[in-house]
């Protein structure tokens, strides 16, 4: 069982009030818009929602991982349209630790204020789960690298000013030949376009192509061949934040469903008096609680610098699968109202489905868990 500390509880209270007062109005409309508005970005930045991983000297307001999880659950659960832009801060610690001084000082303060937005570009058309198969190439040429290739399925890719791009500097070495670069996206040779998706519409999921893009050596993050291991660490964090966002959405929907079933009657009694309804709510609440426990456990381990890859993987597959089925059940409780676009449930169901795929599918999560259980020698064949 995870207990929040007093400061975490205070933080939760503040963020919850902020989200419900400032973001719930209009959230349903924003969920169908193609980008996050400047007004909302400013509001979030003022509330410190972009600087939670960044030290104060860059303008941040650092929080522990559990608190950041709380923020995602409370904020993104109420207004899913801000999820992808908020998520990009998980890569900022990488910049702090590994980027050149020039890059840190130029970009971090802007990103903390959401004046510049970032994204993470790993997936390619022919490789999703299998990161070692990426084809994007970076070739050193004097004080530059020349990047060529195509990245796809990049969350916040349309709105971002800069991307953390994984490219191969030494194709012969598999994952050990992958290097990470910070690539400003408004320079020559870059093209991008939007995916038209069933959910997560404001995320602006994009493909990005690199055609002889010149990136200064100072924009390399870490050493050559160090890209994969460094980024993996940030991915773990992002995965849990996906799950807690889904938790927030489901909790919001559960609150709405509870109101509905108390007011909706059949045979002159509220429908919640029937076990077919009330036990469904009980099941949903249980799945949400289990998901929360798995997620915060993983974040707590992360805060304590303990191994947590397996716990993250468990939270990711179990949590997003469970939340998706919770939203499906809750939608059905609302009947045709839930099916209409007047209520936000149908959009949430579509949004939550994306969270099952993004940042690692259930299959990859189970692969991680199975490997830990069985050891590498007996792990699944890949």
């Amino acid at each position: 069982m995870i207990y929040f500390t007093e400061p975490q509880k205070r933080f939760q209270k503040i963020i919850r009030n902020f989200a419900r007062n400032e973001l719930s109005e209009g959230a349903q409309e924003r969920a169908k818009m193609e980008c996050t508005t400047q007004e909302i970005l400013k509001k979030l930045a003022q509330a410190g929602m972009f600087g939670m991983t960044t030290p104060a000297k860059y303008g941040g307001n650092p929080q522990d991982c559990v608190s950041i999880g709380i923020a995602f659950q409370e904020v993104c659960g109420v207004d899913f349209s801000v999820f992808s832009v908020m998520l990009s801060q998980v890569v900022l610690p990488l910049l702090m630790q590994w980027a050149s001084k020039q890059v840190r000082e130029e970009w971090l303060p802007l990103m903390v204020k959401a004046e510049k937005l970032g994204c993470f570009a790993q997936t390619e058309p022919d490789c999703g789960s299998d990161a070692s198969a990426i084809k994007t190439r970076a070739v050193r040429s004097g004080s530059y690298y020349i990047l060529n290739g195509e990245k796809t399925s990049i969350s916040a890719g349309m709105d971002s000013d800069v991307a953390l791009v994984m490219a191969k500097t030494d194709p012969a070495r598999g994952v050990k030949g992958i290097t990470c670069f910070l690539v400003p996206l408004r320079i020559p040779g870059i093209d991008r376009g939007r995916f038209s998706d069933m959910g997560g519409i404001p995320s602006g999921r994009a493909w990005i192509t690199f055609d002889n893009v010149r990136v200064p050596v100072s924009f390399r993050i870490g050493g050559e061949g160090e890209g994969f291991t460094k980024v993996l660490n940030g991915l773990d964090f992002a995965r849990v934040l996906c799950v807690l966002t889904a938790v927030g959405m489901a909790e919001q929907t559960l609150r709405e469903a509870i109101e509905y079933v108390k007011n909706r009657t059949v045979f002159n009694i509220p429908i919640c008096k029937f076990e077919g309804i009330s036990f469904k709510l009980a099941e949903v609440a249980t799945l949400i609680e289990a998901t929360k426990l798995l997620s915060y456990q993983a974040l707590k381990l992360r805060d304590e610098n303990l191994p947590h890859m397996k716990e993250v993987a468990m939270a990711k597959w179990y949590g997003t699968t469970s939340i998706s089925s919770c939203l499906h059940e809750l939608l059905l409780l609302f009947g045709w109202r839930g099916y209409s676009t007047q209520l936000p449930v149908e959009q949430r169901l579509r949004d939550a489905l994306g969270l099952r795929i993004g940042d690692g599918t259930a299959e990859i999560m189970k692969l991680i868990i199975a490997r830990e259980l069985l050891g590498k020698e007996f792990g699944p064949i890949v």
């Binding site: 789960s129 299998d130 069933m198 077919g276 045709w336 099916y339 599918t361």
Partner: protein, 388 residues
Amino acid sequence: MEFKFSEDEEDLRKAVSDFAQKELVTKKFNNFTDFPASLFKQMSTLGFFSLRIPQEYGGLPASWVDIGILVEEIAKGNIDLAYLLILSYEVNLLLAACAKKEIVEQWLPDLTNGIKLGSISLTEPQAGYDLGSMRTVAVKKKDSYVISGEKCPVSFGIQADFTVLLASTASGAAMPGITAFLVPLNFPGVSRSPNVHTGLLSSTPALITFDNVHVPINYRLGEEGEGLLLNRKYGLFSDLNQILCALASLGLCQVAFKLAVSYSKERSAFGRPIAQFQAISERIAENATLIEAGRWLCYRPLWLKDQNLSNAKQAAMCGWWCTRNAYRVIEDALLIHGHIGYTDDQPFQQMLRDVLAFEMIAGTRQALQLLIAEDVIGKAAVPREIIR
């Protein structure tokens, strides 16, 4: 015991399948107006709207199994049209059985010719399963009924030429209760507005309001007080509705399933086709099982109906189980396609939104499972709060 379709049934499946693959799959229909009149004409020429209608009105003999085959195959081509056909059968059969002769003669030929379209106005904002609490009233005045109330959502309500309306005739009627009427939607006092849903986009569900609509007495369907009975026999609470919604869902999910099977052979990860990973192949195996079991679960109660045997329990089983499984099969097909499956370029997202509707149209899971429980356990299973 013989678990197979007859030669005639196989021929019918092939003919409908050919039509669906040629005329529906290759074209894109985003809303109702995209369906050309010529398509309805073609469907009526093929007899799709005439099944089981008496021959004197241009009908064609068909078994209930035939109707199931037709709906399943059309659903593989266009799910909205499959739904339109399900509603058509319900409306047409109800009319043929219960409407006055002059009303049948006036409307039925245009329905079987695919020129006119009917709809069913049943639920209200405050009355779903509990139809007895409906507030729409029909008050008898001289030789007509005066109807007032609100119905929502009425599928195809925006395009329909008339609606089969259920209203309360509790006051001033010979038989108190719920009564069915045919109400042309161009009658004065009728207004309708669209209600946007996430799926079955061509069915444009409507909110229809009836404000002192005068309906001649001969537009009544059946007797006063027979409304709920007719709805259970022919309408939205019928065995036919439960089975056909299940078959439509299964038809749709088979399309998604087939695409997932092909994709699993084309897409590689870690240097091999993803079909070689049991995480994928086992899901395909599971879904194949759900489809196979579901289809037989549907055809049996249709066969029972053809033998004039009771099928209430089996039909209710189709209604909740197959629609839920169809959702799962489509969801898996989307997930097997990964992030590509999530886009609007692929059909899965719309299929998922479409199939979700059948989990409600077939009847809520709670209502259907209560029907089954009642059959299995007996009256003791019905909570005393439920009044039928």
